[in-house]
Amino acid sequence: MEAYFDNSATTAPCCEAVKAVTDAMTVCWGNPSSLHRSGNAAKELLDSSRESIAKCLSCRPEEIFFTSGGTEGNNLAVIGAAHRMRRMGKRIVSTAVEHSSIDETLDKLANEGFEVIKLKVDSFGRINERELFSAVNSNTILITMMLVNNEVGTIMPVQAAKRAAMMARSPALIHCDAVQAFGKMPVKPSALGVDLMTVSSHKIHGPKGVGALYIRKGVKINPRTFGGEQESKIRPGTEAMPAIAGFAAAARALPDTQKELEHIKMLRDYMVEKLTELGDVVINSPPDALPYVTNVSVLGIKSEPMLNFLSERGICVSSGSACSKGKKSHVLMQMGLDRRRLDSPVRISFSRYTTIQEVDALIQGIAEGKKVIRAVK
């Protein structure tokens, strides 16, 4: 049977999104900036799409800026905020387990002279809140933290960032990379106290190539591209209407997150119980992780043969954010796992379409793989 467990990498587009994309390429294909009937229709579609995303984030439509996806959103937020705030200080506080689109961007800013602090994590990928409070000083201009870790599912204490900034009397903007959390748990920028938030379409069953950056009203960041009035000059260029319409349709099709979460948690608990019974399986995710993402190590079996073995049976999992020989996951390394666990991670990520039959197929696949694949010492 086909079983897809790589939803943290990308998700199957839902039919609502497919239809919206098609409509935007066949019926309503105008340029929203054009001042005629076709353009007006496209403008309406753009506005309603923006409203749909705003509704999901409980924010205002004018706080939503469409981007090409998570990586661009993260780059724009972090660089745009750092450059905007550069005269007020130079410290940026983040964590050591961010997605590479944050991590590498911070390295670039460090080269420009910013003082970047990446908070260490414990063996479950959690930061110590006390360390966050002591890292943030009055010189801090930006705090950026992911809401849910993409490799292990750890939920980060994002709401502590605003408190830390206030206590230090710092002008810091707070950015949150919510790509893995959006659509899977309640995500409300105002409740989390963040000024900037990145979300992406293809992680919620929408098309690839589109995402959104939330910018709280009144907050200013510097743009990275120039040449038009679109998206209030924050992200100029003709809007990718088919992708935006598909993103909005996928967002509208999201079920009640709280109810869905209970179902996913049940599936996760069932899977963890069965996997643990197999023996030599260590769960790398914390017990209170977002249940959509579970990272396990099958001791002695390297990730790549296990992935290939499962793939041969139609079961898709991943070894982390990118499967690469000799290159271990930086998140798991930061968590201080031993070599045997580092060699053998398997990331299992659910979606609302995941069924218990698929989970059973996965467990059976891993059990067989354990028997067939020769272990390494």
Binding site: K302, E304, P305, M306, L307, N308, F309, S311, E312, C323, S324, K325, G326, K327, G369, I373, R374, V376
Partner: protein, 391 residues
């Protein structure tokens, strides 16, 4: 005026009575390689091959980039073929070479008159052409020792040819002129380079790849396809044989001491490869080994590997440093494919402390635990093949 490609064969000119055979082989290779770039006619005269497009549909730039990679060619030129009349020659030289002449300072003219009936002698042709070009392009000067451009006028039987400085060819011998050999290819940096080097000496290639799913992935095999596709730009079509190797590797892992895994594995590879090579009428094996690069490539390890080989094993990289190999792999554009990070058959069960000085006695004793004949037979029987061609 018609544009043609004049091809000078290299070492071939030194061959004696076989020369014709070599030239025919070269022309056959060129014809096959240029097939999808347009229709060309080939004529051989006085150790020069003229490739002439039959109609306008030929992609001339593509043809030139392909000819650059064909072995057995010392150098070649894009040339204008014109009527054998001095007036026409001068005007054509002006028109055809203008783009090149406008960008340089100095030039000289060389003439080759193989048609002795042509009224002007070679020095006269040079003088006439040089003088004419100087009048038409007053910014130029003549420099006979170190010119920016050598303008060549060749008077041959049917046409006069005008061209600029000759482009260096790939050198070597025409593919197939030295027979056929089988290259063992894993997906790393070395084996494509070894394949390229032996193809350069005129060997036609087949390739053998060992796949061990699930330890190696489909992507790893795709990577080998991409590598061979690039090599085939030089060597011509390659047939790839993919050998199922999982069971052999697992049996080695289960039954042999860890420190000898790699040597036993390579011996098994040689046994299988040899059978496939013989079946496909290949006379030698090619590997990318270099002395001392890894534990299985020490002299004693190579001796153990060679002990199972009944045919020559060519190791063109044997005395090369890694950076020299990398330089070639960059030149032939296989490097960026080679460094894609997929596990290959050679890294599946890499021992932590491999034996660097294995003795044949020890290796043979370790192999007693394996059903060598059955494993080899099944691997050969399970082999599938794919034709790989760049164009």
């Amino acid at each position: 005026m018609k544009e043609v490609i004049l091809i000078k064969n290299g070492e071939l000119a030194l061959k004696g009575l076989n020369r014709r055979t070599f030239e025919d082989m070269l022309v056959k290779n060129m014809r096959r390689r240029l097939e999808s770039a347009g229709k060309f006619n080939f004529t051989i005269a006085q150790s020069t091959i003229v490739a002439e497009p039959v109609d306008d549909s030929a992609d001339f730039d593509e043809a030139v980039s392909r000819i650059e990679k064909i072995f057995g060619i010392a150098g070649f030129s894009r040339a204008a073929a014109v009527e054998k009349d001095m007036e026409t020659i001068l005007r054509s030289a002006e028109e055809y070479l203008a783009p090149q002449l406008l960008g340089i300072r100095s030039f000289k003219v060389e003439a080759k008159r193989s048609d002795k009936k042509f009224p002007l002698t070679s020095p006269e042709i040079c003088r006439e052409t040089g003088g004419y070009l100087l009048r038409k392009f007053p910014h130029l000067i003549v420099d006979v020792h170190n010119p920016d451009l050598v303008v060549t006028v060749e008077i041959r039987d049917n046409h006069a040819y005008i061209h600029g400085t000759q482009i260096k060819g790939a050198g070597g011998m025409p593919t197939g002129s030295a027979g056929r050999a089988a290259v063992l290819i894993s997906g790393g940096i070395d084996s494509p380079v070894a394949a390229y080097m032996m193809a350069k000496r005129g060997l036609e290639l087949i390739a053998i790849h060992f796949a061990s799913p699930p330890y190696t992935s489909e992507r790893a095999e795709q990577k080998v396809h991409s590598l061979l596709k690039q090599v085939s730009k030089y060597s011509g079509r390659i047939t790839l044989f993919v050998v199922p190797f999982t069971e052999t590797q697992e049996q080695i892992k289960d039954n042999c001491p860890e420190d000898i895994f790699t040597v036993v594995m390579r011996r098994m590879m040689m046994r299988v490869s040899q059978i496939i090579a013989q079946r496909e009428h290949a006379g030698a094996l090619i590997t990318g080994e270099s002395v001392g690069q890894v534990a299985s490539q020490t002299m004693p390890a190579i001796a153990c590997t060679d002990a199972v080989c009944g045919m020559p094993v060519f190791r063109p990289l044997i005395g090369m440093d890694k950076d020299e190999v990398v330089a070639i792999s960059r030149k032939i554009e296989t490097f960026d494919i080679s460094i894609l990070p997929y596990e290959d058959c050679c890294t599946v069960f890499t021992p932590k402390h491999p034996k660097t000085r294995p003795t044949l006695d020890y290796v043979e004793k370790c192999e007693e635990a394996l059903e060598v004949d059955r494993l080899v037979k099944e691997a050969v029987e399970g082999t599938r093949f794919i034709h790989i061609n760049a164009y």
